[in-house]
């Protein structure tokens, strides 16, 4: 019925005592997420929003049976927080919300990730939600509805827009994954698509990409070669000039012209993925695919 997040997900929030960490812990609890622990060095023994705080992620995993970590730690310390979560026995999913982590730090985290079976989603992402079950991150739960369409996106608010278009037509979602807008991220489009392809209850997938890098092109080839589940696409940044960073650290068309919206749209269409010109058109395509 979902990927990555389900009824058995037990969350530890890293940075739970900070403003963002506390606010979103409350929001996650309100949505029904099983938040079982917080982890903040030196704050062990405290409680935030009724949730016990531990000094280490390993402590939270051992004492509170946490199996997923959400990172709300400031950028200067966030890579270390990711390492700690990747290192902790029992944690098999890490969702890093933090925006502004230095790229070289993420390069080292990415290197560590290759040695583990743990999934990392983000950083600089809105998180993961399985509607009606749980959300890990900052996504507004009320716009989502339970159903059979998987969604993967590099952008938060664009995800909300597309979900809104789907929900308004009565099309629910199995799981939505915000993979993040940074140049180096954990789970990429292919990683998310593999999850959806393996989920019998995901009947179609929406993939929202944007300018920068070649992740969408690689995902397009993966879809053409390996996926039976149909996919509809959207690419943001058609009007972006080269050499200008459009908000996200990763959203930049290079001076030599790689990473353009057109290259991504062409790659998707060549692999049988209909690409909408507007979010409303994406919803049209999904309706056709179902």
């Amino acid at each position: 019925m979902s990927v990555l997040v389900d009824e058995d997900t037990r969350v530890v929030v890293q940075g739970i005592t900070g403003g963002e960490g506390k606010f979103h812990t409350e929001q996650m609890l309100e949505y029904g997420t099983n938040v079982v622990a917080g982890a903040v060095p030196g704050k062990g023994g405290q409680e935030v929003a009724g949730v016990p705080v531990f000094d280490t992620v390993q402590g939270a995993a051992r004492e509170a049976d946490a199996n997923a970590a959400v990172v709300f730690v400031p950028p200067a310390f966030a890579a270390d927080a990711c390492f700690e979560a990747l290192d902790a026995k029992g944690i098999d999913l890490v969702v890093a919300i933090t925006e502004g982590i230095p790229t070289q730090d993420m390069s080292r985290v990415y290197r560590k990730l290759q040695e583990t079976d743990t999934h990392l989603v983000g950083p600089n992402c809105p998180g993961v939600i399985t509607p009606g079950v749980a959300k890990l991150g900052i996504l507004p739960g009320n716009i989502f509805s339970s159903g059979n369409v998987g969604l993967v996106s590099r952008s938060g608010t664009l995800t909300y827009q597309v979900v809104d278009n789907l929900t308004n037509r009565g099309i629910g979602q199995s799981t939505a994954i915000g993979i993040g807008g940074d140049p180096i991220i954990g789970t990429d489009f292919i990683g998310a698509l593999e999850q959806f392809e393996a989920d019998p209850d995901t009947h179609a997938v929406v993939m929202c990409g944007e300018i920068g890098g070649e992740d969408e092109e690689e995902a397009a080839r993966y879809i053409g070669e390996h996926m039976d589940t149909p996919v509809a696409g959207f690419i943001a940044g058609r009007t972006a000039p080269p050499g200008k960073r459009m908000g996200h650290a990763g959203a930049i068309v290079s001076g030599s012209g790689t990473g353009t919206a057109q290259s991504k749209i062409t790659a998707l269409e060549d692999n049988g993925v209909p690409v909408g010109d507007t979010p409303e058109e994406v919803a049209d395509h999904v309706e056709d695919l179902l």
Binding site: T103, S107, I138, E210, E280
Partner: protein
């Protein structure tokens, strides 16, 4: 964040990479004095972030005091592809027999750094990469180990660099990688790395782009960056306000939250026949005063004829946004440019009730809001 050539050269020289003798000058007299001191021939180079400076007249080679004065007069104060030149680097002209390219950058697709060397230096390396990719040797670096000495040698030999200078080039590359690593480099490159008849290696240009997200731990570089800051007035104002902002050529001003959604709004303006004037992301959780600042920014762009607000609230609340828009507009006797607003998500209903419809046009879908804003822009134009 990109350093100027003179700053990057200073960083390189401090780390032990050989660079030509040079002096920075801000006036014609300073430039002439520097040329006299260094000895001819010298190159006079505009210090602005513009590709192809030489072709555009921003670099001149001079042989005498008279020529130095003439060149400095031409270059200082000139407009180089839209950038005002206020500083020149006066530099010893190196007599070379070969030009190499040496660079270190982050390969985002691989998630790790890559060192690159080519014997086709002195030309636009992106064109080389396109036309003759095999002319650039590449070696990926494992960030857990850093660059092994053998990797520096390997990529230099693979590129086909002469054995006589290979060790010295490898040593420059090793230092360059170390700088990239220590200083949170995004791209660092030397193009060209000149080889003289005596087999000396000299960095004749220097590029250093630093990861803006790492400036909190690079105070020296951050200070240089403030000195190097250039761009138009509105982009600098956006920095002050803390907005992600990019100025474009059109007349429909765009304000939204979240990079992907703002890009999408730009794309839709184009799709419905309009031209976007800017990208402006107010970020997550924007309060009323931030919204008012955003509106002030877009109003102060004289190209803007019509403004569209597109907010999808997650942590941003529709009522806060609406209050900000009202506050910003109520101070005008007459609204300077028509404003179209679309609110969705958290507290959007409350927000739409708060909005003063005497001051703004409210639309309920993204598509309708963009089309309305494009119509307004066309009416103003006509």
């Amino acid at each position: 964040m990109r350093l100027h050539e003179y700053q990057a050269k200073q960083v390189f020289a401090d780390a032990g990479i050989p660079t030509p003798a040079s002096q920075l000058a801000e006036t014609v007299d300073e430039a002439v004095d520097a040329a006299e001191e260094i000895g001819y021939p010298v190159a006079i180079k505009a210090q602005v972030h513009v590709g192809g400076r030489g072709k555009a007249g921003g670099i001149k080679l001079v042989e005498s005091k008279e020529e130095a004065r003439e060149a400095a007069e031409d270059i200082i104060g000139m407009d180089l592809k839209g950038y005002h030149v206020s500083k020149v680097l006066v530099e010893e002209a190196v007599d070379f027999v070969n030009e190499l390219y040496v660079g270190v950058t982050m390969d985002r697709n691989e998630g790790r750094p890559v060192a690159m060397v080519s014997t086709k230096g002195g030309v636009n390396i992106e064109e080389v990469a396109e036309e003759d990719p095999d002319a650039i040797a590449r070696e990926h670096i494992d960030p857990a180990f850093g660059m092994h000495p053998f990797q520096a040698r390997k990529v230099v030999y693979e590129a086909g660099v002469d054995r006589e200078v290979a060790n010295d080039v490898a040593s420059v590359l090793t230092t360059l990688y170390q700088l990239w690593d220590d200083r949170d480099g995004a791209d660092t490159e030397i193009n060209p790395l000149m080889i003289t008849a005596d087999n000396e290696v000299i960095a004749a240009d220097a590029v250093m782009n630093i990861d803006g997200d790492a400036l909190f731990r690079q105070p020296e570089i951050a200070e240089m960056g403030e000195e190097a800051a250039e761009g138009d007035e509105l982009e600098q104002k956006a920095d002050e306000y803390g907005f992600d902002y990019v100025r474009l050529d059109g007349n429909v001003g765009i304000i939204g939250n979240g990079a992907g959604l703002v890009m999408t709004t730009l794309d839709l303006v184009d799709y419905y026949g309009g031209e976007p004037a800017n990208f402006l992301d107010v970020g997550g959780g924007a309060k009323a005063d931030r919204i008012a600042n955003a509106l002030d920014m877009v109003f102060s762009d004289e190209n803007v004829d019509s403004v569209v607000f597109n907010i999808f609230g997650g942590i941003t609340r529709g009522d806060e946004v609406a209050n900000g828009i009202n506050q910003a507009l109520e101070q005008f006797d007459e609204i300077p440019k028509p404003v179209t607003v679309r609110l969705a998500g958290t507290n959007a209903e409350e927000g739409m009730e708060i909005l003063n419809e005497d001051l703004v046009t409210v639309e309920h879908t993204l598509e309708d809001a963009v089309q309305r804003a494009v119509e307004y822009a066309k009416e103003v134009e006509a």
